[in-house]
Assembly symmetry: C2
Homo-oligomer: 191 residues x 2
Amino acid sequence: MNTLQYAILGILTYVSLNGYSLKKLFDRSINHFWHASLSQIYKELGELERNGYVTSSIQEQDDRPDKRVYAITSAGQEAFLAWLNRFPQPYASPKRDEFALRIFFGGRLENAVLRKHLEGFIEERQRFLEEMIEGKKKAYEILKEANLVEGSENRGMYFIRRRTEITTQALIQWARECLEALDEDKQYGGE
Amino acid sequence: MNTLQYAILGILTYVSLNGYSLKKLFDRSINHFWHASLSQIYKELGELERNGYVTSSIQEQDDRPDKRVYAITSAGQEAFLAWLNRFPQPYASPKRDEFALRIFFGGRLENAVLRKHLEGFIEERQRFLEEMIEGKKKAYEILKEANLVEGSENRGMYFIRRRTEITTQALIQWARECLEALDEDKQYGGE
DNA sequence: AGGGCCATGTAACCTGTTACATGATTGA
DNA sequence: TCAATCATGTAACAGGTTACATGGCCCT
C-alpha cells in the first residue's frame, strides 16, 4: 500500500466519505503536506476496495448526482494503525522544492530578478499565513463537520497547524535576510 | 523539459561531469531540496543529449572504468537561463511529507508512541544540523573543486544553506513545543 | 577474502498528472 | 445565460524507484 492509501484510510477512520468530498477535505487541510489529485484518489479508492480495506455503497440524492460512499473495514483499521505505529527511519522524506532549486542557481541571475522573486515569495507566504490564521475557525468547523475533531483527538491536527505556522514564519524571515544581504552586496566566500 | 533536467543543466553551466559524479554532487548539496536517483539522472542525460542541450564524450581512464562526460551546449545554456528567469507563480510547490502526515493522525496513537517519534525526529534533525555546520567547510571544498563556487557566484548556494539551517531549527523548536504540550496533556479545542 | 567505491546502463513497475467524457443543479 | 459546483470515472503520458546486469580496483 502506498502513502496516499494510508492517508485516505486515516480520514475514513473518522468518517465515511465519497471520493469528491475526500478531495475537498484534502485540499483544505492535508494538502499543505500531502497533495492528492482527484483522479488519483479515485484510483486508490478502487484499489483499497479490491483489497478489502474499504467497502462502498451508492447513496442516492434527489437534486445532485448519486455518490459512492466509502467506509473502512476492520482490515483497513488494522492496516492503518500498523502503518501509523511503524514510523519510518529516518524521518525526513526526500523533498522536491523548485523555488529552492532556482534560488540555489541564483548566482546565474541578475540581482534585480532575484530580488523580485524573493519579494514575491515573501508576499505569497505572508498572504498564506494570514489566510491560515484567519481561516483557523473556519477550518476547524470543516473538520468538526467531517467528524475529524472531537476532544483530544485533534491533537495531531493542532500540532501540524503550528508546524505550518512556524516553518512559514521561518521562511519569511529567511527571505528577508536574503534581501538584506543583497542590499549590502556581500561577497559569500568559504569562511 | 522537466525540473531535474534544468537542475542538471544548471550544474553543467559550472562544470562538465559524468552521470556518476553528478549524482554525488546531488547527494551532497542539492539533495536537501531536490532529490534524484542515479538511474533517473542517466535517463535525463540521455534525453538532454537527444534534444541537443548537452553533448557527451568518452573519457578513458587507466585504473577505473571509462566515463561519459557531458558538456552543456549553447542551446542548453539558453534553455537553462530562460527557465531560471521564468519563476513559477505561485512559488510554493506541492509537498509530500510523510512524517507530517503521521503526526496529523497522531490522535490515533498512544501518547508514548507519539512522544517517542517526536524525540526521534528532534535527535535526527539535530544531528543533521551539526553535520551541516561541521561539514560546511568540506561541502565548500567539494563545490569549489567542482567549480560550483567562485566569487559572488555562490550567492544562491549560501542562501540555500541558510534556509536549510533556519527551517531545520524551526522544526526542532516545533517538535519541542509539541513534547511540552504532551507533558501538560492539554486539550486542543476550537478556540 | 570481502566489502565498498567507481562506472553505465536497462527493465519492470509504481505513482501521479492532464486531458477527456458526461451531465445535472445552483447562484449571480 | 454563464460559470461554478457536484459527481465519477478512463486513457495516455510523465516522472521516478527498485532491481537487475556487469566488472575492475582499492583497502582492510
